[in-house]
Symmetry: C2
Subunit: 310 residues, 2 copies
Amino acid sequence: MNTDHITVRRNVSLRTVLRYLRALGELPDYTDKFMVVDRRERYLGILRLRRLVTGRPELSVSEAMESDFQPIPASVADEEVARRFSDQDLISAPVVDDEGRLVGRITVDDVVDVIREESEQTLMNLAGMDEDEDMFAPVLVSSRRRALWLGINLVTALLASWVIGLFEDTIQRVVALAVLMPIVASMGGIAGSQTLTLAIRGIALGQLSQQNARWLVLKELAVGAINGVLWAVVVGGVAWLWFASTTIGLLIATALIINLVCAALSGALLPLSLERLGIDPALAGSVLLTTVTDVVGFMAFLGLATLFLT
Amino acid sequence: MNTDHITVRRNVSLRTVLRYLRALGELPDYTDKFMVVDRRERYLGILRLRRLVTGRPELSVSEAMESDFQPIPASVADEEVARRFSDQDLISAPVVDDEGRLVGRITVDDVVDVIREESEQTLMNLAGMDEDEDMFAPVLVSSRRRALWLGINLVTALLASWVIGLFEDTIQRVVALAVLMPIVASMGGIAGSQTLTLAIRGIALGQLSQQNARWLVLKELAVGAINGVLWAVVVGGVAWLWFASTTIGLLIATALIINLVCAALSGALLPLSLERLGIDPALAGSVLLTTVTDVVGFMAFLGLATLFLT
């Protein structure tokens, strides 16, 4: 917000305003409207610069102003302001305090920055980096920031290893399982991250809320099931040919379907739950999702193998 | 681009322009400047609306106009236009053809859309989705688009499995390797995706080019080496305690350093090479990076284990 706006009074003529502006000699950047206020600085409406130059000079400001232009309360969040600028194609807008007094204006350049930062932030957070982590940070600063993220992800990886460790005996007997198990985890991770990205973007753009969440979950479950079955047939076939074992083929196919369905479910539900808890879904979502797809993937494949192969 | 701009001639007075605008009664949205052209519609400069209202009415347009305002050639890319609007805080800018004739103007609302789409696209492409894939697409449309990405990633996963398959004998003898190997691949993937995101963002924002590429690669190598050593100590320690084997601890530590350094190298070099080849780094980068970190991770860990454990 800045405070370099020009205010005018309701009872003067456009000619007077023009004379005043000529005396001023210079207008602040992004002046597309003037703020109409009363003697106590309370906001009454706006007078567009466009209207000033096209209106008859003898018109009064009260005749040429727009009193239905809603000012922005100072308490509104950046994202909400950006959305309103975007929806209403604004260049500048008046900002008022709780008592309706004009305190300043917001201009489109600030909004462009907010929009840029918003998407940037999602992108950086998904990789566990800070918005202001940039290429030009010193090596040690970059290292420290990223080390934290690697540490958090190590917990996920150790959890996955622990799950695999539960089935050491089975793997020793059928080593093909060790060869194939990353496929189940990886396909689940990819499918889940697609749903996750879509949900995070949907929340950021205001397209996804608790109202249509149920519908999204059902849709993603359907997509997960369709792709689960499709790739289960392909991967099952490859495994069957590779290890000449129908059982292994059927096991990996089943595990893949289970993991893709769970991936869809958690890809849609995690961001919604995190958002409700006030945690940034872009930052925490990808780690939690990987934990789910790794654990479910290894557990389903190795668990089923233990039941049917040994 | 739109064509609803207002043009004025150089030799008239500001008073005449104002009278013309009053006769017009209405100005197009985002009119913050008028385009000054000659009789053959060739661009000469701009007259700011701000200048029009603050200037003395008897001034001529040629006295009040800015002839050094550079118009935008019609051939310039969207991203370049967005950058210029952002750098120069523009609301509108004239567009000219090859012969310098005014063909229209670009307004800030188009630019906001470009900025929004640009970051959106990176985000969606990193998850293998199309910019216009949205939450509201029918199940079958969504499934088909995402199936393609899952298929491409399956090739990566199968390659990783093939690498693991080369070491079946070693895994059968030391099954702890199967338990620990996903850690090496996963930590490499995380570290690499951080560098990749940074590089993709750097290219998109115009901060990263072939000129400072060498510097970025060296910096990322340093970050990779520091975090490689740090997490090698932690993971090596965990593995040593878990499996009561110094050799396994040392092996996974070494493999982790190798993979984190390769991840940094490919995370920085892949987007730069893809960009040079005219391929979108956000779309192809993440798959290629995962291939590198999986193959190098499994190869380093299992290869070293085969040398030193059997």
